[in-house]
Symmetry: C2
Subunit: 177 residues, 2 copies
DNA sequence: TATTGTTGTAACAATTACTGTTACAACGAA
DNA sequence: TTCGTTGTAACAGTAATTGTTACAACAATA
């Protein structure tokens, strides 16, 4: 699966506010026509950016603007604002993971010394010996979380200021006048 | 949004095959009861692992097994096998991104020197001067792709062998007999 | 050969999340 | 008061996933 386009749209919004915010009123209609999405979608996302205190909107009058210095604003801030991931986990666990998975032998009587930690018993539990078939689930969680963190660290390293610099650098010289 | 639980289930399958594959026949029913999902879901994912030449299934007789050494098998291999991300992009772009976004001034006549690169013209284009409002979209793509790559590199660094080692290490000593 | 257990796959329902759209009350400026 | 704008509710449409049933194909084996 993919991650919501909210994030990509939110980054667009922030960059447009940063680069062009002073030149005209940033209404949701204007932003919508820039980004080619519905104005209501823009307002929904602006609402999330407001809640995160990244941007604000002039009530009644209209027009959005940034609250933060672009040097202090990272992609991670925006990512959190639009709730790209629910709770903590980018990688969805299957529903059964919360149950007593027999190979997650935290809850396997054979290996936990009989300490039942809750969940549903499974008569097919493969742990017929003390053979270590266990801790699979927590191991998976750990390593997937590491991968998620690696991505988030990359987002934290990227400021909006840097993105603007990169954009400027990408503009062909003959247009820089 | 979140990523398909296919990945998490696939990793479970691989770990169970690695740890317990020799002790009994790994049928889809058995794996399903271990992981608490429907057997058909297991078969679907095993089909993807087969296509990726990570595992195979004994036709007719039944029973899955790994084709690769766990030291040579990384989470990234599994991630690719189950097609966690379509094409290349973890982060969904909004549909409009493929159009002539006026702030993606690759296509803005004002900045591209009149070289039209295709797409739909937008009369609301904010680029009324040569002011650099541009290259937003490609800058976003670049930085989001970097974040995705960071995650994938983390997955590449994690072998199934390592996960098993970590699992073993996590087992309380009193159970290691 | 007939039986048995298993797989691969199709088909369909149910779920979930997201997106587009319309509508409208509230709000501030002029 | 009028106007443009926002915030939000409501609903339809879309897309992907998951659970489930069903069944033909297949290998082992009795």
């Amino acid at each position: 699966m993919k991650i919501s386009s909210r994030f990509s749209i939110a980054v667009h919004i922030v960059l447009i506010l940063a680069v062009r915010g002073s030149s005209q009123k940033m209404t949701s209609d204007f932003l919508a026509s820039c980004i080619f999405v519905n104005p209501v979608v823009i307002r929904r996302i602006l609402g999330q950016l407001k809640k995160a205190e990244i941007a604000d909107v002039k009530s009644g009058e209209g027009g959005a603007f940034l609250l933060k210095d672009v040097s202090d604003l990272t992609l991670f801030d925006i990512y959190q604002a639009v709730e790209v991931v629910e709770d903590v986990s980018l990688f969805n666990s299957h529903k059964g993971a919360e149950m007593k998975c027999p190979v997650d032998c935290h809850s396997c009587p054979k290996l936990s010394g009989g300490n039942d930690v809750g969940g549903t018993e499974n008569e097919n539990c493969p742990s017929t010996s003390s053979e270590a078939c266990c801790y699979i689930h927590s191991s998976i969680e750990d390593h997937l979380l590491s991968a998620q963190k690696a991505m988030e660290e990359s987002l934290k390293r990227t400021t909006v200021h840097q993105m603007i610099e990169d954009m400027m650098a990408a503009i062909p010289k003959e247009l820089n006048n």
